[in-house]
């Protein structure tokens, strides 16, 4: 067996020259850094990587990479990516989203993407707020967070993305913190390598509308447990942790979605046989 070849690419190979719209201090800068480092480590050429997103601050990320990208409509990135990956199984498809895009308007697609288990990586930059529309509560926002749209807070239970991913059939579940670039890079590399649908929640502070999230760097901690392949055990751990446990929390062994497509041109001329009156 040959020793693995060193990657011919650097993280800069995956960065574009377009200046991000993000606010100074936004966690998404770090996510972009971790993603490009992970891609360099994975060694796929930029043209063989597709970064798909919806709408929101985090969804601006495709244009900041030097990969193929699609900045689609709000909430539908997983659907668009599913079509792309089924049509082009040869590509490395990464979907990047935020908590509003991914869990609110795109919530149904999240469930079915986990269920479908197509071989792709789903990274959600979770800052618990709608940033692009200037500060409204998202599904992961705490119930007492005050805003103009929900004075006094929503009073609603936050959405629990990792548990929902697990219950819906995701094959790989992890959580990291944007500021932990080394850990995030490693987790993304593992997520891409793992077959099937891999879900990575990256806690990524919004310093503009959630300045309290600057404290996250002191709150997060690496999970003190080994990765499990038992979904019940993973669910129990995630349900009972403080929401700031980071690391790979679950690795499943479900068979990825079989795409069936072939590059061999089929013989269309035989298809009319079923209609002929014989």
């Amino acid at each position: 067996m040959n020793a693995p070849q060193p990657s011919p690419f650097k993280s800069s190979s995956y960065k574009s020259d377009i200046k991000p719209v993000w606010c100074p201090g936004c966690g998404d800068f770090h996510v972009l850094m971790s993603v490009t480092k992970a891609l360099a480590e994975l060694g796929r050429a930029p043209e063989d990587v597709a970064v798909i997103s919806g709408i929101g601050c985090s969804s601006r990320i495709p244009a900041y990479t030097n990969c193929y990208g699609f900045h689609g409509v709000h909430g539908r990135s997983l659907a668009l990516a599913a079509g792309l990956k089924v049509a082009r199984p040869d590509l490395n498809v990464m979907v990047m989203s935020g908590d509003g895009d991914g869990f609110s308007i795109g919530g149904n697609h999240f469930l079915h993407a986990c269920r479908r288990n197509i071989d792709m990586t789903y990274i959600v930059m979770d800052n618990r707020v709608y940033g692009m529309t200037k500060g409204q509560p998202s599904p992961t926002t705490e119930p007492d967070w005050d805003s103009a749209l929900s004075p006094g807070g929503t009073g609603l239970s936050p959405f629990h993305p990792l548990v929902i991913a697990l219950a819906s059939g995701a094959n790989f579940v992890a959580r990291t913190f944007s500021g932990s670039i080394k850990e995030s890079t490693n987790v993304i590399v593992e997520a891409v390598r793992h077959p099937g649908f891999s879900f990575v929640e990256i806690l990524s502070p919004c310093v503009t509308f959630r300045p309290d999230e600057r404290e996250w760097k002191n709150t997060v901690h690496t999970a003190a447990v080994e990765t499990t392949s038992d979904p019940a055990r993973a669910a129990r751990r995630i349900m009972t942790d403080d929401g700031f446990n980071t690391g790979i929390l679950y690795r499943g062994d479900r068979k990825p979605y079989d795409t069936h497509v072939s590059d061999t041109p089929g013989d269309v001329s035989i298809l009319d046989q079923e209609f002929k009156i014989g």
């Binding site: 377009i18 050429a45 930029p46 043209e47 063989d48 597709a50 970064v51 798909i52 601006r60 495709p62 244009a63 030097n66 990969c67 193929y68 990208g69 699609f70 900045h71 689609g72 409509v73 909430g75 539908r76 997983l78 659907a79 668009l80 990516a81 599913a82 079509g83 792309l84 990956k85 089924v86 049509a87 082009r88 040869d90 590509l91 149904n108 697609h109 469930l111 079915h112 795409t259 069936h260 497509v261 072939s262 590059d263 061999t264 041109p265 089929g266 013989d267 269309v268 035989i270 298809l271 009319d272 209609f275 002929k276 009156i277």
Partner: protein
Amino acid sequence: MSQKTGALESISLAIVGSGGAGAITAGAIILEAAAKSGWYGIMTRSVGPQIRGGEAAALVRLASRPVNCMSEHFDLLVAIDWNNAERFAAEMPLANHGVVFCDSAGGDIPDAIAHSGVSVSKVAMKDLATEITGGRENMIAVGIVAGIIGLSIDEIMDIVATKLSEKGSEAIEAGRQCIQAGIAQLEQYTDILKLKPSKQKDSERWLITGNEAVGFGAVRGGVRFAAAYPITPATEVLEWLASGLARVGGALVQAEDELSSVNMAIGASYGGRASITATSGPGLSLMIEALGLAASAEVPIVVVDVMRGGPSTGIPTKSEQSDLNIAVYGCHGDAPHLVIAPLSVSDCLFSAQWAVYLAEAMQAPAIILSDQSLGQARVIIDQPADVTFLARRKIYEGADDEAYNRYALTADGVSPMAIPGTPGGQYTADGLTHSVRGTPSSKNSDHQDQHDKRNNKIANFDYGDHWADVEGEGEITILVWGSIAGPAREAIRTLAGEGIKVKLVAMRLIAPFLKEKFLSALNGSTRILIIEQTHSGQFHKYLRAQCDLPGNIRHFHRPGPHSIGPEEICDQIRDWKKS
């Protein structure tokens, strides 16, 4: 007792019964046997809202020439029972020479039929079927129809043997005995209704539904990916594609909703595969946002809308043309795209193939407006021509020294598209207004330039003569779109027999509107009858918004569920001729 009518050019018959009685199967057997015997024909189904156990009717028209619509009067009605049949009675008016056969124990004859003056004969269908081991009353009904119209039992048994092959030889034998028992009831009625023999037995003909034809046309056009979310009456497009694509190395994915299916199609097309999805009105409403994305990001996709009665959930099993407005105007912002309407079941094949070609050539979304009357009609047609469109998507081949601009401004508005995997072609497709490179921009010049580009590529394309079928001459013109071309052609044929010459302009390309070709086709028309199946007259208003219509205009329109038939179109013209 009815009088003999002599051999007819076309016979319309209905087989009705409770859901599960097998009326639809009986109709399908008759249609296929007629196909094998060299006739043409069409079959539609009329079913109640229940999934199982409601009422069901197979409506079959057989003819010695190609037919594209049902006729308004039925020559023969066979009722396995009358449960809920009064709900159908209005859809099945009987001709004066009409003949009705019903089961002796099948319940009360509906008033509309009992008082219509037609001949009603009672046959003990259920009892006869009971006497035969494994016998079914719908096969007795098949025998009755076969005997009356003159279909041979050999032709029918070929079909029955195929349909029942999985159920074994005993079921096939029971079928034969039932059909013979049905025929045996008829000795006294033979030759009431006879169809003129067809000379077409040796020519290549197909038996196909509009929904199958759309799917097949799309695959012929190059589609290799479909995303599916089931909806009546479009599901059969997707079901055909599931097996059709598998046979040519393509793929179909079932989506969780229409928001997903249309975005899946966009994703697959972005990846370089021609892509399609199919839906009906409610699903098209959900897809509209993504159609705007496909227009802005210039990703070709084809969306088939098999229209049904609207608004909202409407009448899922019945036809209407009332999605014209949403198809043309639904997108927010200015989002140029294509709207194509097949003119017959046979034309579903051509129109779908053409739609794929247009979408791919212009890198734009195309909506195909089929409808339930085409989609779910099973029709015997002459083998359609295998059309070839050579142009494909304009692709960026890479290896350019200059930086790649995905949305470069070109003479025809179409710029080479890089397919993921191509080195040097990386770009981000975007629904945000963008520069030529694809970078998000709110600059006035970028917005204007990209609007012009997207508009011009569609406005200036050479659509050839396919935009409409223009047939015949005369100072009176019938102007229609989509499926209404079927009854309009039939009406024009009837009127020709009365010495009234009528021209037909049947529009296949709804958007863009080709003003010069349109006005040229109407040149010389002094009276124009516009016909459409909408309550509000969407087509008429659309035309008025596009140009000043020449001559005197009459507008005949109404919503579904009852289809617009050739006879009422004839009446419109006859009435106008008098004035």
